[in-house]
């Protein structure tokens, strides 16, 4: 009878199912738990959904599995990466990057100029890579070097080649269609286990050309929740934990055996302004909005650090671009009201300003990927309400900012802009203020003096001229406010005292794990 058979086999089937499921869960090799002292455990919010360099969020560069031709030091100055040096010729329209001899990929094959050139060509074809924006005509192997020919001068090329999308991968990383299926690089660590999106384990690569890292194994775990990350840090279950929120930072400060490290990032939290909006086209209105903001209080409440209140677009960590003599952006509600009145806005019956019967209503678009943005948005909403501006906040996907820029429906966007994506902020600055506007920069706003200054900088000007041009850019941005700076940004990490030698790269290019050591 069927039923009888079921009766006998059902409990066994259930038991088997549970066993199989449990076994599948434990299939991972030698789990580096808390007891495994040889593994450096790193946790952060960064999930990786693809091994393709441009889609990896730089994680394999941070774990030092792959290398870019050019690297940068903690100050953001360029230094040799995989390439030992570089030269320009043909009036800056050809660049040659010298490769070292006897470099071995993690699969045992030797690095060739052809392999490097192929990786760079693949990067140049990716629209999202900063290399796609360079006027490239060809990338070829030339002896032990890679030659890049340009259609026009592009002094920022070496800086662009610090970006994680331009790493050099072994030919075995690609499948027949040219898609990246494995991460086979040249760095001091090689990938040992990969379980996307959350787990990456790397092991010391014994044939690395440089000094061997002291720490042999690193296990990275992506943890989406900041609360969980804080618990990992205080519970001694991770050695380095990136991206803690204020509450978590306070916990770590009180916990024994773990300390907070932080560094000011070249990232500004700012308001992108549609300068074609009937109200926002008037620079007096933009200034008034800026003056309405109590940045110190906002930074204190949201970022728990009043010093992060932005006084200008460029944070002090970008020493070449920050202009200490600039009049700081400060709160002045009275003057904000006066400026709005001058611009023709008068208070309506409900306290909201009006002009020609139209109320001053704006929508602020922002996104939750950086958890402080929605909180900042509501603080800004409250401050603007004080001067009679009715601000609606729309927290949505980050891509809505470029999308609404494209169709012209954006009023204000609150965003976290990385100002040195490719080491040299000039590339980002030029991208933020082109005449036609930019997705993550100015919108319907342009200024001839600022464009001249960018052009001067792009033409490899001498130091004094370059410094003057940078000051012009900072001053123009401060006076015109096509982007209203709100706060600067600090990146932090909780570091367990069983490790030493942790350094924080403000550019987040690498985590310098190969320089870390076990504390004695």
């Amino acid at each position: 009878m069927e039923i009888h058979r079921i009766r006998r086999t059902a409990p066994r089937a259930v038991a088997t199912l549970i066993t199989v499921l449990a076994a599948a869960g434990c299939a991972a090799p030698a789990a580096p738990g808390a007891g495994d002292s040889a593994v450096l455990r790193v946790a952060g919010p960064f999930e990786t959904h693809s091994v393709a360099p441009v889609e990896s969020d730089g994680l394999f560069t941070r774990l030092e599995v792959v290398e870019t031709l050019v690297s940068s030091d903690l100050e953001g100055d360029l230094m040799p990466g995989l390439a030992t040096g570089w030269d320009e010729s043909r009036g800056g329209r050809s660049w040659t990057f010298e490769l070292p001899a006897d470099v071995t990929f993690h699969d045992g094959t030797t690095l060739t100029a052809d392999a490097a050139a192929a990786s760079l060509r693949a990067a140049a074809e990716e629209e999202a890579s900063p290399l796609a924006a360079a006027p490239i005509r060809g990338i070829e192997a030339e002896g032990d070097a890679v030659r890049i020919d340009l259609a026009a001068r592009y002094p920022a090329l070496p800086a662009v080649l610090t970006h994680y999308s331009t790493v050099v991968l072994a030919p075995s990383s690609y499948d027949a269609d040219g898609a990246v299926t494995e991460v086979v690089g040249t760095g001091p660590y090689r990938v040992e286990r990969l379980e996307l999106p959350a787990n990456i384990e790397v092991r010391r690569f014994e044939d690395y050309r440089g000094p061997a890292p002291q720490i042999e194994r690193v296990a990275f775990q992506a943890v989406g929740r900041a609360e969980s990350r804080a618990l990992l840090a205080v519970g001694d279950q991770a050695d380095v934990v990136f991206g803690l929120e204020p509450a978590g930072r306070e916990r770590v400060d009180q916990a024994p055996g773990v300390a907070m490290e932080s560094s000011l990032q070249p990232r500004s939290l700012l308001l992108k302004v549609n300068a074609k909006d009937p109200a926002l086209a008037d620079v007096r209105v933009r200034r008034a909005l800026s003056m309405a903001l109590d940045r110190a209080a906002i930074a204190d409440a949201v970022l728990r650090e009043p010093d992060l209140a932005a006084t200008q677009l460029f944070p002090p960590s970008l020493t070449a671009w920050h202009v200490p003599t600039l009049d700081p952006l400060e709160q002045d509600v009275e003057q904000a009201r006066e400026l709005l009145a001058e611009a023709g806005w008068t208070a309506g019956p409900d306290g909201i300003l009006e002009k020609d019967g139209e109320p001053l209503r704006l929508t602020l678009t922002t996104y939750p990927d950086r958890p402080e943005l929605p909180a900042l948005a509501t603080a800004i909403q409250a401050d603007l309400r004080e001067v009679g501006v009715d601000l609606a906040v729309d927290v949505t996907n980050s891509s809505e900012i470029p999308a609404r820029h494209a169709d012209g429906t954006l009023d204000l966007g609150l965003l976290a802009r990385h100002l040195a994506l490719v080491t040299d902020p000039l590339v980002t600055v030029a991208e933020m203020f082109p005449p036609e506007g930019s997705d993550w920069g100015a919108m319907n706003w342009s200024d001839p003096a600022l464009l001249d200054a960018i052009e001067t900088l792009q033409s490899d000007a001498d130091d004094t001229t370059a410094a003057r041009a940078r000051t012009t850019i900072a001053e123009t941005a401060q006076a015109e406010l096509p982007l209203i700076p709100v706060a600067w940004y600090r990146m932090n990490a909780a570091v367990n005292e069983r490790v030493a030698g942790f350094v924080m790269d403000p550019l987040e290019r690498t985590w310098h794990l190969s320089e870390m050591e076990w504390a004695s």
Partner: protein, 326 residues
């Protein structure tokens, strides 16, 4: 549970065929709905997919245009859907729009993760809840019953997020018994499963208690006691078994809600599961992954219902086989 009242002779194959047909129907409806809903969501899908791929620092109009051209997002919607259905008939779930990896590979890990978590959570919930329910039912309105009622209220009131954090603080940080988060080794499943299991145990305890109380009052249990069986034998042979007939379908329903409700717990414990995949797929407009996840979930529901039917059939002591059952 239609099966219990079915009257035909050998009912199992019929049930399986009916459930299979139901599975196919549900799959088509669910995937079509997914497609329509994603199309109707505001925002430009090309930008969303580009954001998923490259991260917000690198998304711009050029990247979105490249994505649009590569994936043919400009084609008419019916064409894109027809392609998906045709591929499905070849058992090809397609590739993720964001990661370009086959959806099967992508979902495999998540599905196993969710199944492991759900099965263990349900087992824990049944164990804790069922045990408490049986104990409480021994003396309705007694002290133990009141305590259990307190437990039920407490775990029902605690959101999984808070419960999870409390468990991490206790079992991981204070006692150091279990890893706080992660997906490595057998120990890492315990905390997320316990969080879900304790959360569910309240309702289990309530349903078990009521069912046991009711079964205890029934004529056949009283008869069993009258004919001289010990309390223990009555409990094991008559009460628990008949309670199971009520409890198992309930377990099935809970399993379904569990699969959908693991999102918070998965993200808290960095546990890769379908909830995680679904959230990201919606956020990124990754239609193939979304359709496949919904498909898997829908089929899982059908499979669970089938399992419940078969189990109840096995448990139910009432006469069955070729004779009709009232």
């Amino acid at each position: 549970m239609g099966l219990v009242s079915a009257v035909s002779g050998n009912r199992l194959p019929g049930v399986l065929v009916r459930r299979a047909a139901q599975g196919v129907g549900v799959a088509l409806v669910v995937s079509a709905l997914c497609f329509v809903v994603v199309r109707a969501l505001p925002g430009d899908a090309a930008y969303r997919i580009a954001a998923g791929r490259y991260g917000y620092d690198l998304v711009d109009a050029a990247a979105a245009d490249a994505v649009r051209a590569e994936l043919g997002l400009d084609r008419p919607a019916w064409q894109q859907y027809a392609e998906w259905v045709l591929a499905l008939f070849r058992l090809d779930l397609g590739e993720s729009l964001v990661t370009s990896r086959p959806v099967v590979d992508e979902l495999g890990l998540y599905l196993v993760g969710t199944l492991q978590l759900s099965v263990l959570a349900l087992a824990l919930a049944a164990l804790i809840g069922g045990g408490l329910g049986v104990v409480a039912a021994r003396r309705p309105d007694g002290a133990v019953d009141r305590l259990v009622t307190g437990w039920i209220a407490a775990v029902r009131a605690l959101p999984p997020f808070l419960l999870g954090l409390l468990l991490v603080l206790l079992l991981s940080i204070q006692l150091g018994w279990l890893p706080a988060v992660g997906h490595e080794g057998a120990a890492s499943i315990v905390l997320p499963a316990l969080t879900l299991g304790i959360g569910l145990s309240g309702l289990f305890a309530r349903v078990t208690r009521d069912a046991v109380v009711e079964v205890r009052r029934s004529d056949y249990v009283r008869f069993a006691a009258t004919k001289g069986l010990s309390g223990r034998v009555v409990l094991l042979r008559h009460v628990l078994r008949n309670t199971g007939v009520v409890l198992v379908p309930y377990l099935g329903v809970q399993a379904v809600t569990l699969v959908e409700g693991v999102v918070v717990v998965e993200s808290l414990f960095a546990w890769p599961g379908l909830g995680h995949a679904l959230v990201h797929a919606v956020f990124w407009r990754d239609v193939p992954v979304l359709q496949a996840s919904a498909l898997v979930l829908a089929l899982l529901v059908v499979a669970l219902n089938t399992l419940v039917d078969v189990t109840v059939l096995w448990l139910d002591p009432r006469p069955r086989g070729r004779r009709a059952v009232a």
